[in-house]
Symmetry: C2
Subunit: 473 residues, 2 copies
């Protein structure tokens, strides 16, 4: 590394790569170009910040910028936006407050992240229509929905903050609409209900959280409704109606629903503009294609995090998987690779966990039969209802566990589960078994821990594996 290792984007993947490269090769120069005020921000915490459980948005930041610069020796340049890459000259064009410059690189990591996909309907430009993918946007949203008397006095800093400031001290909403019954949508619904708002969730599909499996969706929907959230499922959002430039209703094919604010994140799309401009290839998902080391079609250019594809270990196919662990891991691997120890970025098996009010919801692998068949499996599923503690131990709850096996090989290929306790970490054992290629017979024979406060003698994972094993005989 005579020319520096240059990282575009200072969030999970970028800062993991920079830190690892600096640690493994302290003599090398590492430059991080971050267009905003923040680095290593935990965007996964934004719903909890919006709810008010986390007092200050700065609390989400994993590393203080100064600590990064001083302790790690990384040349961190905030408010420096990479706008183009010249692969022949090996330079990045950077816009900074004091002008534009060309930054040479030896190796380059594109960790440009993702952004909210807004629905392609009229009214997304109205005041009160938000997305929640940056800290600045999160703070603006929190302030917008806060009652006036508890609204923080400080303004919004960082990228996009100035435009959003105008929203503050304007509204005092009663009803909020959320477009998309996906993970971020449901987490926000919980946050809004926690603040006493009237919450409406819209989704064109028939079920909430389709990624978590239709077999447990009913349990989740009942819980959301009991929690005071209004679900508009099978309902296409046709636009947002405004008055004086501010949102006042969500328009649907059925009837308009009056709201004072909307979060309209229907998905996450990768930020690939710089890559595309430089001739870096994208894969079938639209995100940047990479090899197992995170390398793009240019061997000196890597991509990691929400802008890049990952490989699904079960299907073998590329997948866009915009989640924190995958980004951290890929960044760390690239940091190691550029320091001389080639390290695979690792694949995913699709593990996700989330809190839904008082439920823990978890999934891993391939749970949908159509998806399983497309991947070449012959799916067989089982659903069991069990309990979260020994039957005699006070405080047990019902747990619903669904699992899928491949009838050809007997392998466990997916599971999803819902309960007030005990699914968020249990799913990791299933993820491990899937990664190891275990059959349901082998999973049913695993030596799991048992104590009355933590589960039944036959752990739910073993229980569902036993049932699948009987089915396959």
């Amino acid at each position: 590394m005579t020319d520096p290792f240059v990282v575009v984007g200072g969030d999970a993947a970028g800062m993991s790569a920079a830190s690892k490269a600096k640690r493994d090769a302290p003599g090398g120069e590492v430059v991080v170009l971050e267009r905003s005020d923040w680095v290593s921000y935990g965007a996964c915490g934004l719903p909890y910040y919006v709810r008010g459980e986390i007092a200050d948005v700065e609390d989400l930041v994993v590393l203080e910028p100064r600590a990064v610069i001083e302790d790690r020796g990384i040349d961190l340049r905030r408010h420096h936006e990479a706008v183009a890459v010249d692969r022949e000259a090996r330079t990045v064009t950077v816009d900074a407050d004091d002008g534009r410059y060309e930054q040479p690189y030896g190796e380059l990591l594109l960790a440009t992240g993702g952004r909210a996909t807004l629905p392609d309907v009229p009214g997304t430009d109205l005041e009160g229509v938000f997305s929640i993918r940056s800290l600045a946007a999160g703070r603006a949203l929190k302030n917008y929905i806060a009652p006036h008397d508890v609204r923080p006095a400080r303004g919004v800093e960082g990228a996009g903050g100035d435009e959003l400031r105008a929203h503050l001290d304007e509204a005092d909403p009663d009803a909020v609409g959320i477009v998309g019954a996906n993970k971020i949508g449901i987490e926000l619904a919980e946050a809004f209900v926690g603040r006493g708002l009237d919450v409406h969730v819209f989704d064109a599909g028939p079920r909430v959280l389709p990624a978590f499996g239709s077999d447990v969706a009913e349990t989740i929907e009942e819980h959301l409704r009991d929690g005071g959230i209004t679900l508009h499922l099978g309902t296409t959002v046709e636009g947002f109606r405004g008055r004086d430039g501010r949102v006042e209703a969500v328009e649907t094919a059925v009837e308009p629903v009056a709201v004072d604010a909307v979060v309209a994140d229907v998905g996450v799309e990768p930020n690939v503009e710089i890559a595309a401009g430089a001739g870096i290839e994208r894969g079938p998902t639209g995100a940047i294609a990479t090899d197992e080391y995170g390398r793009t079609n240019d061997p000196n250019v890597y991509a990691a995090g929400d802008c890049a594809e990952k490989r699904h270990l079960l299907t073998g196919e590329p997948i866009h998987w915009p989640f924190a662990l995958a980004a951290n891991r890929a960044g760390r691997a690239v940091g190691r690779t550029v320091s001389g120890s080639p390290t695979p970025v690792g694949g995913v098996v699709g593990t996700q966990v989330m809190k839904v009010l008082d439920l823990q919801v978890a999934r891993t692998g391939v749970v949908d039969h159509e998806e399983a068949r497309t991947a070449g499996f012959d799916p067989v599923s089982a659903l069991i209802t069990t309990i979260t503690r020994a039957h005699y131990y006070p405080g047990w709850s019902r747990m619903v566990v669904h699992a899928t096996a491949d009838a050809d090989t007997g392998r466990l290929i997916g599971a999803n589960m819902v309960a007030p306790e005990g699914t968020a970490h249990r799913i990791n054992a299933v993820a491990t078994a899937i990664t190891a290629g275990m059959t349901v017979e082998a999973v049913g024979s695993l030596d799991f821990g048992y104590a009355p406060p933590f589960g039944p003698v036959w752990d739910p994972v073993l229980g569902v594996a036993k049932v699948l094993d009987e089915k396959l005989r």
Copy 2:
């Protein structure tokens, strides 16, 4: 099965075998000989019963005897005690209330369980010295320690109950001694503290819960002391001193400690008398030796549960593993095997979890270096201190995770962890990885779930695997 499948002992292993055999081969005759009043009792719940969290000891019973008989078609004979086996004649000698008889068998399962090992010191026969391996003993103990005004009026039924009745309505203890800082001892210490008693735990060893790893013991000991439990570690119990036939002190090499009751279960030993009398071989642990299908040296005689050995999958050695899941699994496998589908009883990797006041304590695999070297491993360990939720999510606690790898192969071979939340189910992912033979590099690359309420981005299991991986490079 022209002659019946006869099961000696109606707890976890025996009832699992009987139920499975009856379900898989409904035409076959299944006889269960149980010397007590109860079947399928959850002895693991006794500490919680003693504490008072479970109102009635009958709540611990998994199956009501009548339901067993009527719904499953099993010939369950309570108060029938098997006293001898004639392998040539294929009969069991049974003592029942109305006399002795010879019961023919086609195949026989010895599921005779285990019993408390009492220390070989003077005074174990004093009134107020208890063990806690049967429901009757548990009830007697609970009544003994109960204040008079809340003592239940009903008596003790079942084996051993009559002798113990004499203890009731006699004592109103203030201080209780527990011999052995093992799992049952610590669970009982918690139960007694929960009832407002002054609790003294004695152990000759330097640490509590040695099976759970010395590296986390300090955390547990601090928590126990904060919880009001007095630990007498490195303290050999030399006997129990009585007055008028009732225990009044625990005698140690240091000084006597005044107590009103003692639980003296220093371990569990297998009930092998019937087996030994019939020439059934025992293994190096003293429990009944079996092959992978639970068969003894007589192909028509099986053994399962606390009276039989299991195989440790990592060390390859026989182990006495008197825990509920292993007993249930082995019983079920034998039930299947005698019904015509030979099924291995499965090995263990040593997974244990327990609640210690407000801590979850978990272990799996081989965590002790001496034990690892004996098994042919070259152990390398790492200890990390991490947190149970994202750093910005309210309510996180400290988690201590210790893990051991084999330097020769890079395989993960053991882990132990302690925290107020999130270890009881996390350990199962480690157990799965160990069973699959994964290296620490592979474990560090696993795709685990992440959400701020449930852990840091790098799950503690991944975190400790990463550190071990770096150590091994």
